[in-house]
Symmetry: C2
Subunit: 232 residues, 2 copies
DNA sequence: GTCTATAACTAGATAGAC
DNA sequence: GTCTATCTAGTTATAGAC
């Protein structure tokens, strides 16, 4: 599994990118932190851009595999009609749980991943998007089956809201400290955050349809049992 | 009010920062786009950092003044007990409406603002946070009055979710295109987005309390009339 | 206020010895 | 695979003429 220095460089790059951003992190800083030679990045990866891609690929692929594993487990259990809260947990869980996995990058990478959604570089956008493509597609249709009465453009926007809120939470911004005046320890407790996030998202996904004309009530989230669709 | 070139530089900087990010935009690119001299940035603003701050201050202050104006109007109307959906609209509206205001920076600045929340630079974080401080404080207590039965740490997390989701929507990411396969025109329609976002957020703020022990139902969003608190 | 010229530095990438 | 040395090009910032 790859040379040793290759992984040491990936670790150092991950940490520095998460802390300073891509553009503000030089190859010199990375190789110094890794105890490696300046030329080694270009030898092992080819370019800074390729290094960035490798940093993402290393953790994103297993994470998205886990998402799909949980999705399939749900569909097996419920005969193809996975319930809404299960789907949300299957999507959100693997991302948030990464931050507990200190052995394998943990919180550092989660911050980086959260920020990747709003990074301006088009090449990075394209690369990361490619790694998410399959997952997004499969969850899109699963959510469609879980919320069959929701119009599809409304569904897409709400999925977008879900992805975005997860990304923001992962990025772990300073703004949170301003709002909650809370210590970082709390924000790192993935389990508590997951529960709060899932409850918020389930309610949002079930929200009544918007509209200036006081649209019909679509759903109030029922608390007992699992949500498996919209109820009138 | 300020020299002419000063504003031309601000416009050019705003556009380039929004498109390429701060670190990837050089003063040379900015002055070239503005038709001004390289030295003029340092003459008028002192440094690149100070220019960044000026770009934000120019639009952030009026925006936050408008938020507070709407908050006060609500509190006048409802005698200090502003309803939940009104509060959310008062917070979210002025930000999203900026993107319609093509005269005054419009969508460009909104994208930039959305991304500012996840920018790594600590100095930028501190500066922008300072410009938001008063607004956050006042809305925090108003939301507390609108949702009196919600435990305060839960309230803070949900406010954090609200701010984060708004930030993500403003940033207008590529990921959205992957999810919705939608044309940009749709994403720029501030009114439609606002309705969708408010409906999602109202439901999320009213969500049942999370907890492994199947907590009590706190609220299902009622569709008629305004939301003004939690109902059992 | 605006310009030219340049100082002082840092960046990514590579050639070639070991 | 790893190192040194170096190339080329980019950066912010400033001094000083107009």
């Amino acid at each position: 599994m790859g040379s040793d220095t290759k992984n040491i460089i990936l670790d150092a790059a991950e940490a520095l990118f998460a802390g300073e951003g891509f553009a503000n992190t030089s190859l010199r800083a990375i190789t110094a932190a890794a105890g490696a030679n300046l030329a080694s990045v270009n030898y092992h990866f080819g370019s800074k851009d390729a290094l960035i891609e490798a940093v993402f690929a290393r953790r994103l692929r297993p994470m998205n595999r886990e998402r799909i594993r949980r999705l399939e487990a749900l569909e097996d259990e419920y005969g193809g009609a996975a319930p809404l809260d299960g789907l949300i947990e299957a999507f959100v869980g693997p991302a948030l749980e990464l931050s507990r996995d200190t052995e394998r990058g943990g919180a550092r990478f989660v911050r980086l991943l959260g920020r990747s959604y709003t990074e301006p570089s088009p090449s990075l956008q394209a690369r990361v998007r490619g790694m998410h493509e399959e997952v997004i597609g499969r969850f899109k249709s699963a959510f469609g089956r879980a919320l069959p009465e929701l119009p599809s453009d409304e569904l897409y926007w709400r999925l977008h809201f879900m992805v975005g809120l997860l990304a923001y939470c992962m990025a772990g911004t300073d703004m949170m400290r301003l709002i909650a005046s809370c210590r970082l320890a709390d924000s790192l407790d993935a389990d508590v955050l997951k529960e709060r996030l899932v409850s918020f998202l389930v309610a949002g996904m079930c929200a009544p349809l918007p509209g200036p004309l006081e649209g019909p009530v679509i759903a109030g989230p029922a608390r007992e049992g699992r949500h498996n669709g919209l109820t009138t």
